[in-house]
């Protein structure tokens, strides 16, 4: 079946611009996660959705970052007034639940470059 998909695969923007990154999870998965992976680092948790609600947004670095999942499926990560330090690969993952036996399936990521 189809895995997690993310669009766009690459995004180049200028400092100060607004960007939206999209994630399509595996059908039926209620849990959805966003991670950010900077060069040479492992993925870093940003936000977790259970259904439509953001159950844990403690990883969002500041109020320029916001994410939604209005219908409990597709999610959009929104970044306002982008900064060069926002350049990274943004990963989305989904799972059936959020327990230890619930495997998180990752998308291919969106590589964001802020010039």
């Amino acid at each position: 079946g189809a895995g997690v998909s993310q669009t766009p695969s690459n995004k180049v923007t200028e400092k100060g611009k607004y960007v939206e990154l999209r994630c399509d999870p595996i059908s039926g998965h209620t849990a959805l996660y966003w991670y950010r992976q900077s060069l040479g680092q492992g993925p870093e948790f940003l936000i977790y959705f259970q259904g439509t609600g953001a159950a844990d947004d403690s990883g969002l670095p500041n109020d320029r970052f916001f994410a939604v999942r209005p219908e409990g499926s597709v999610s959009t990560l929104k970044i306002q007034r982008t900064e060069r330090g926002d350049s990274a690969v943004y990963l989305c993952a989904s799972s059936e639940g959020a327990g230890g036996f619930d495997t998180q399936y990752f998308g291919p990521g969106t590589r964001l470059t802020v010039l």
Partner: protein, 111 residues
């Protein structure tokens, strides 16, 4: 603080040699640990989890609570094992789980 440490950025071995990728963690509760792998041009995927006590592609990992370690081992490395390996800890806080990843180790297996 909850943390996962992978001390080696790169591990280079020859085909057929034993491999051990190190992972240490810091967690106050009972840990659930995972190894994820990313092959070239592929997405991050789960390799194994300690609660399943499984062996995948010849890899095993044993949780050592005394040493707070979860090292990944394989007795005989193959060229196709070359990839980026990430150790991850499932952190339970506020009623929800999230993964905390280490910085990763690149395994290069030479012919």
């Amino acid at each position: 603080a909850q943390r996962v440490t992978q001390p080696e950025k790169l591990l280079s071995v020859f085909k057929g040699a034993p491999v051990e990728l190190k992972c240490n963690y810091s967690y106050s509760g009972s840990p659930e640990l995972f190894w994820y792998v990313q092959y070239s041009r592929q997405r991050l995927q789960l390799l194994l989890r300690h609660i399943s006590r499984e062996s995948i592609k010849g890899f095993t990992a044993d949780l050592n609570k005394g040493e707070t370690s979860f090292h990944l081992k394989k007795p005989f490395a193959q060229e196709e094992d070359s990839a980026m390996y990430y150790c991850a800890l499932l952190s339970f806080s506020g009623g929800y789980n999230k993964l905390i990843f280490g910085a990763g180790t690149r395994l290069a297996v030479h012919p």
